[in-house]
Each structure stands twice: as structure tokens, then as C-alpha cells.
Amino acid sequence: MIEIKNINKSFNKKQVLFDISGQFEKGKTNLIIGASGTGKSVLLKCLVGLLKPDKGNVLFNDRDFTNGSKKLITELRREIGMLFQGGALFDSKNVEENVMFPLNILSKLNKDKKLERVNHCLKLVGLENINNKMPSELSGGMKKRVGIARAIVNNSKYLFCDEPNSGLDPLTAIKIDNLIQKLTHELKTTTIVVTHDMNSVMEIGEKIMFIHKGKKLWQGNNKNIFNSKVKELNEFIFSNKLMKKLKS
């Protein structure tokens, strides 16, 4: 479980996040949703330690990541896997080297064990026999799947995904979503997914946090999201015609 307490973050006096608190549960796909520019990515970066919040704490199973000792932070880093928006694969390395990279840095397995682990993860994301391909030879969806393999290769307990299905066709997008959810259930990870895609919300929103202009306005799941009384949330959900139609 990950808990955040009163996260505040500003850039050059412009406050982006206001006092955000909440919990993300283990073995579930936790979503952070909201319109573009509301601070979802900033919040995620605070969670994984790429940005330091001005105020507030991030707790990984009660271990304080924001103010922890160096040793604790190194320990937590080993447990975090992250999927970036564009995959963020290393251009100069092939698929196998990319997925193996965290193992080379973080684990003490021998070479054969590492390769075994890499192939196992590539199989989990449905990509076999492409070990020697370079990232430039992959499609967007494949890049994301390799990115997911890299994020889980070190047995990550915490999985973070920034807009895993943006820029993909609806079918591939749903496949990626379902893959993330399947891995979350199987590997019992605490998964946090940032998205502004209502399909994902319906598909995998087991726990949802809605952010608007840097403030948390609502938290719930994809069953009760349609009954919320929060005006901004309703505007967000029913911004497209399909959803409006479904409502009426």
C-alpha cells in the first residue's frame, strides 16, 4: 500500500499540487485521473521520487520515501518499476538489454538467471523472440509492452504507469490496460496508473483518484464514479458524446 499525506508542490511560486492525501491499495489498479495540465504527472513524479514535494510525505508500506535515510531510499528504489509515457526505452540498447538493465543495476543474479528472468517477463507481456530488436524497430504498443516488462523485471512491488495507453488505437489501448491489471493481480503489485482515458477508467478503475487544478476532489471506484455529485468530475466524465448517450 502507498499512502500520500498533504503533498504540496510549486514551480517558481506557481503552485501545482495542493494538499493531496490518499491511499493506493495493494493488488489493485489505482487510477489517477483528471484533465490535461492538472498535475497528474507531477504527482506521479513526486510519488516515484523524481520530484521532491515541498511539503508532505509519501509512505510505501509505512516507510517514508520523502524523508527516509539513503539506505531506505535505495531499498525502495529496488521495489519501484515505472512505465513512461513513450516507453522511455534506451535507444542504444536492444530489447533484451533494455529489460535486463534494471537487473544489471539492482540485482545480484548471475547471467543465466537474469536472461531467464528477462525472457519470462517478455513472455508475460506477450513479446517473444524479439530480444535482438532495437527500440526504433518496434511499434508504439510494443515499446510500451517492453517498457512494462522492464518495469516488472526486478520483481517490483510498486508499479507506476504514466498514460500507458495514450497514442494507441482503442484495441491496443485496452490490451495494455488489461495487461497491467492482469500483472497487478498476479504479481500482487501496488499499481498506480495516470490516465485521462475514460475507457481505462471503466476497464480497470478499481480505485480512482480525481484531480482537478492540483486538488483532489474525489476518490472512489468505477462503480460509484457515475453517482458522484462533484460537478468537475461529471464534466470530466461526460465530456464526450458517447458517455452522454450512455448516461441518458
Binding site: 521520487g49 523524481l50 531510499i73 528504489r77 513512461f84 509515457q85 522511455a88 543495476i105
Partner: protein
């Protein structure tokens, strides 16, 4: 000025939270191959022509019965060692390697590859930049030595083909009143220039913000700023060491 402060902080961050020696060793070897090998061709071409042109122009300017021919090769030798090879090749090096470094790091930044490294707990600046600086400092002096040799050779070829100076005379001039200090001076310059090009270009690339357009701008900026730094350092070193 604010940028200069940021640059100093950047340089000092390279030495914090380092990876194992073996990691840097492997990365540096890779970079050496990239940086050294890829610049060989352009450095060779520029050097040969630089020597040839210097020889012909010196010959053209020194016509007169009182000046012996070997002065031509003496001038070529000193100009090559003192200025042309370390400095002009540094500018070429900035154009080739500097823009490459900035482009590579800039792309890694905007495609979140640098963030990916940071999430894994790696000090990305140290991991990516230190090997490039080490490789530049190791390879550039070798390029300069090669360049000086080729420039003098180029001068010999041009001089003898166009018959402005006899081969034996050229060799005699090369050896005439040679000041051995010119060689360490050229090497000191090379180390300084290599460090400046690699570190300034890395700095530019590492702090790229935005998209593909900005990566292009970073590359150009890297070359411009490296060149300015080279020329200033050139002046200061001449003042201090000569």
C-alpha cells in the same frame, strides 16, 4: 552568469553517488570508440589540407632572396603545434562530437530516458556524462597528435608537388631550432579543450526542455558555446604558459 553557476553545480554532481568502477570503465571504453573512431576521418581530412594550405601560403608570403626555404616548414611546424592542431581541430571536434553529445543527451531527456535512469536510482548525470568526458580527455590528445603529424605531412606533400620547397629542405626546417616545450603545451591545450567541449555539450544536452526542436537548438548551442569557450581558454593558456 546564472548558467555558469548551474554548470559548476552540474560538474560537481558528476562525482556524487557513483556507480562501480567497472561500470564506468566499460562505458568509457564504448565512448572512446565512438568519440575517437567517428572523428578520425574528418580530423584527418582537415589536418592534411590545413598543413598543405599553410605551406603554400607561407611560401607565397615569404618570397625573397634573403629568406631560406626551410623557414617555410619551420613556420608550418610551429603553427601546427601551437595553434592549428590543438585549436582548429578542437573547433572541428566541437562540431562533430559536441553536437553529437548534446543531441544524444537531449533526446534522452525529452523521451524520459533520463528519468527512467533516475527512477532506478542511478545518478543519471554521472552515469551518462562522466564516461563521455573521460573518453574525450583520453581520445582528443591522440587526435591532436595524429592531426599534427598529418598536417606536417600534408605540408610536405603540397610543398614538394608544387615545388615551392625541396623535400630535404622541408625536413631540415622541421628540425631547425625546435622548442620541445611546444609539445607539452599542445597536449595541455588538448586536455583543456577536450574537457570543455565534452562538459559544455553534455550540460547543454542534459538540460534540454521541450521537444525535437529544442534538441536541435541544444546541439547548435553546444557547438557555439564550446567554440567560444575554446577560444577564451586558448587565449588564457597562451597568456599563462607562453
Amino acid at each position: 552568469m546564472k548558467n555558469f553557476g548551474k554548470y559548476i553545480i552540474f560538474i560537481s554532481s558528476l562525482f556524487q553517488r557513483r556507480e562501480s568502477f567497472k561500470t564506468y570503465f566499460n562505458l568509457s571504453i564504448n565512448e572512446c570508440i565512438k568519440i575517437g573512431y567517428e572523428s578520425l576521418f574528418i580530423v584527418a581530412i582537415v589536418s592534411i589540407f590545413m598543413g598543405a594550405v599553410t605551406t603554400l601560403q607561407t611560401a607565397f608570403n615569404l618570397v625573397g632572396p634573403l629568406i631560406p626555404d626551410y623557414v617555410i616548414s619551420l613556420v608550418v611546424r610551429d603553427m601546427t603545434l601551437l595553434e592549428l592542431s590543438p585549436t582548429i581541430i578542437a573547433i572541428v571536434f566541437a562540431g562533430k562530437v559536441g553536437s553529437n553529445i548534446a543531441g544524444e543527451l537531449g533526446t534522452m531527456r525529452i523521451t524520459e530516458q533520463i528519468d527512467a535512469l533516475e527512477v532506478m536510482g542511478i545518478n543519471s548525470s554521472s552515469y551518462l556524462v562522466l564516461p563521455k568526458i573521460i573518453a574525450s580527455i583520453l581520445m582528443y590528445p591522440i587526435l591532436v597528435v595524429m592531426s599534427a603529424f598529418l598536417a606536417i605531412l600534408g605540408g610536405y606533400i603540397a610543398g614538394t608537388i608544387s615545388e615551392v620547397i625541396a623535400g630535404a629542405e622541408y625536413i631540415y626546417g622541421l628540425r631547425y631550432e625546435f622548442n620541445p616545450f611546444n609539445i607539452p603545451f599542445a597536449l595541455i591545450k588538448s586536455y583543456v579543450f577536450a574537457f570543455l567541449v565534452a562538459s559544455i555539450s553534455s550540460f547543454q544536452g542534459y538540460y534540454t526542455e521541450g521537444g525535437a526542436l529544442e534538441v536541435g537548438k541544444s546541439s547548435t548551442q553546444a557547438v557555439t558555446k564550446s567554440c567560444i569557450a575554446i577560444l577564451i581558454a586558448d587565449y588564457l593558456l597562451a597568456q599563462i604558459l607562453l
